[in-house]
């Protein structure tokens, strides 16, 4: 999110009024500092134990062959990294990951923006529809995925309804292209409400006089959208793009429930592949290398976000 605000750490020590006795505040401050450490201790120690130490361990594990099933643990140097470059499946995995992320971002943001534009008006029922579009966000992810999996069976509800109008639907989850499309669609409808709400907030922040001025000048609606609305909400668009991409890299339950990565490896995204290698095949060393790869991808995306944000400060507060 707005990591940039870190720079805005305020100076928190209000200027002490002159003439205050000198010794007491310093004792006070030392005591206060102690309390500060105590307050942050649970969080800071948690991050140390559950984020930083594991990150260090990944590097260590990645240089070892750790087969839990066979009970072996030995140093293998760069073998796991070399495997990364010779793994015949990795190309397909990265392709599936990229396709999924790009398709999800385009579908999610387009729909979110359309819904937000449609709902950005004062009309009875707008609140109701906003609730409707948001509701899948609070439905348990696995429950949502299961019912879609049920709907997308070869003889499931969707093909049943298509058949009533004389269309023979595909076996959605068992054919490469439709399997990928299905996973994307299930994910879009699950979470598009969140981006819609973010867009609505951004749309409501666009000053009204801009629109009025454009209307007075006789601008067409499409011109108004591309020349006013779009630039004004561009920071939110950038934010949601990054959030959605990073979120898309973490898609696991949907894959596990709907397709198990299949057919073939057509929906095996990186996270699912990592899970398979480490926890199904017991290859923790190679799993760690895949984890490093995932980490690097997220890191690069975050840095790109920072750089774009710097450049793209069209208007930010």
């Amino acid at each position: 999110m707005t990591l940039t605000t870190v720079r805005a750490l305020p100076s928190r020590a209000p200027a002490r009024p002159g003439g205050a006795p000198r010794r007491r505040p310093s004792r006070h401050r030392r005591q206060d500092a102690l309390v500060g450490y105590l307050f942050i201790a649970p969080q800071a120690l948690g991050i140390l134990a559950f984020v930083l130490v594991p990150l260090g361990l990944i590097a260590y594990y990645s240089a070892h062959e750790w087969n839990v099933l066979a009970g072996t643990f030995r140093f293998v140097g760069t073998e796991n990294f070399e495997r990364l470059f010779t793994d015949p499946q990795l190309g397909g995995v990265l392709q599936a990951t990229t396709v999924f992320s790009i398709a999800l971002v385009i579908a999610n943001l387009t729909l979110a923006l359309v819904l937000a534009l449609l709902l950005n008006r004062r009309m009875r029922g707008v609140g109701f529809f906003r609730t409707v579009f948001f509701s899948p966000v609070v439905v348990s992810l696995v429950a949502w995925t299961i019912v879609w999996g049920f709907l997308l069976q070869a003889d499931g509800g969707i093909n049943g309804m298509l058949a009533t109008i004389g269309i023979e639907g595909p076996n959605w989850l068992r054919e490469g292209p439709t399997a990928m499309a299905s996973v994307v669609i299930v994910q879009v409808f699950k979470n598009v409400g969140l981006n819609m709400v973010l867009f609505l907030a951004a749309l409501q922040g666009v000053p009204h006089d801009l629109y009025e001025a454009a209307r007075v000048d006789g601008a067409r609606p499409s011109t108004i959208f591309w020349r006013i609305t779009f630039p004004m909400i561009s920071p939110t668009i950038l934010l949601t793009v990054i959030i959605t991409i990073v979120g898309s890299l973490q898609v696991f339950a949907q894959i596990a429930v709907l397709t198990q990565g299949g057919p073939g490896t057509s929906t095996t995204v990186l996270v699912y592949y990592l899970f398979q290698q480490a926890f199904q095949f017991g290859k923790f060393g190679y799993g760690s290398v895949l984890a490093i790869l995932l980490f690097l991808i997220v890191l690069v995306l975050t840095i790109v976000q920072w750089m774009l944000r710097r450049k793209w400060v069209f208007h930010e507060n």
């Binding site: 999110m1 990591l3 870190v6 928190r12 209000p14 206060d32 500092a33 102690l34 309390v35 500060g36 307050f39 942050i40 649970p42 969080q43 948690g46 991050i47 134990a49 559950f50 984020v51 930083l52 130490v53 594991p54 990150l55 990944i58 594990y61 999800l104 999610n108 009309m123 529809f129 906003r130 609730t131 948001f134 509701s135 899948p136 609070v138 348990s140 696995v142 949502w144 299961i146 019912v147 709907l151 069976q153 049943g160 009533t164 669609i185 409400g193 969140l194 709400v197 973010l198 959030i243 979120g247 890299l249 339950a253 996270v271 990592l274 899970f275 480490a278 926890f279 799993g287 984890a291």
Partner: protein
């Protein structure tokens, strides 16, 4: 007010008819768009009342023709579902309360208390935002394995409360406290209250909106965890709901759809009802916290 001429009336009525039409078009479009958002939930609930013979009936039945509650009974017969429900509920409650405490303490300190290294520590903590849970799952599994905590709820509770998931909520609390006027706290300080009392008795009651957002985010996060319980838990009676939902299969591994959907209904509907009652807090809270793909 009522001084329209005939001309005005006809124009007004034409305008109002046009407006009615555009209203109708708007509602028609919205209703069509709403189908994929509402229908799955409807299908989940209705199908869970269908006998297995009707589950793939053609043409599909929108309302069960022979409604039965047998699937709901089977849910409890096939798995220790009440136990699993309790697991999910107590873990979610413990983690939610724990996160509220951890994050409000840290958020308050980062916003209000001056101590050496605060900025550096804050930056290090924020690293947690950058690390997807999937990156650290392998070493975390090994660590908890070494501690003998695999097949217990401890990994889920500890990591969710103190680890990466609570960083976002700490950030939210910090931002909230930064925006909160400091005068009340200073007055309390002059009255001799110590930091802890100020945090608990002055700052926390004022932070209710932020705490609500934190609670909603944290609850939904834990309630929906899937990868972590899949990795850490092995015993059926320790499963949380998302894992349990995927295990309603017959002897051949085929899904028992109506039973599975009955379990899914029992998992999803209570949260959905709470959402409908408290939707304002939900939408605003989640919009503030921001953030899942």
């Amino acid at each position: 007010m009522r001084t329209e001429t005939a001309f005005d009336v006809s124009r007004a009525s034409r305008r109002s008819r046009r407006r009615t039409l555009s209203y109708l078009a708007f509602y028609a479009i919205m209703t069509v768009l709403a189908v994929p958002f509402v229908f799955p939930t409807w299908w989940m609930i209705t199908s869970s009342f269908k006998p297995i013979t009707e589950i793939f009936a053609f043409p599909p039945t929108l309302v069960p023709e022979n409604p039965t509650i047998q699937p709901f009974i089977d849910v409890f017969a096939l798995q220790p579902f009440a136990q699993q429900y309790w697991n999910s509920a107590y873990i979610a409650i413990v983690v939610t309360i724990g996160t509220m405490l951890v994050s409000s303490l840290a958020g308050y300190a980062f916003a209000r208390i001056q101590f050496p290294g605060a900025n550096a520590i804050f930056l290090v903590v924020l690293v947690g935002l950058l690390i997807p849970a999937e990156v650290t799952i392998v070493p975390l599994f090994q660590m908890f394995n070494g501690l003998g905590l695999i097949d217990t709820h401890w990994p889920i509770i500890l990591v969710s409360t103190f680890g990466a998931p609570s960083v976002l909520t700490t950030f939210i609390m910090r931002q909230f406290f930064l925006a909160l006027p400091v005068e009340l706290e200073e007055a309390a300080r002059l009255d001799g209250l110590n930091r802890f009392s100020i945090w608990w008795r002055i700052a926390m009651p004022l932070a209710r909106p932020a705490l609500a957002a934190v609670a909603i985010f944290s609850f939904l996060h834990v309630w929906n965890l899937y990868l972590e319980p899949t990795v850490y838990l092995q015993s059926t009676e320790l499963f949380t709901l998302p894992v349990a939902l995927t295990r309603f299969t017959d002897a051949y591994g085929g899904a028992l759809w109506n039973v599975q959907l009955a379990a899914a209904t029992m998992t999803a509907v209570p949260v959905l009802l709470v959402f409908i009652v408290a939707q304002r807090q939900f939408v605003e809270g989640l919009a503030h916290t921001g953030l899942k793909g």
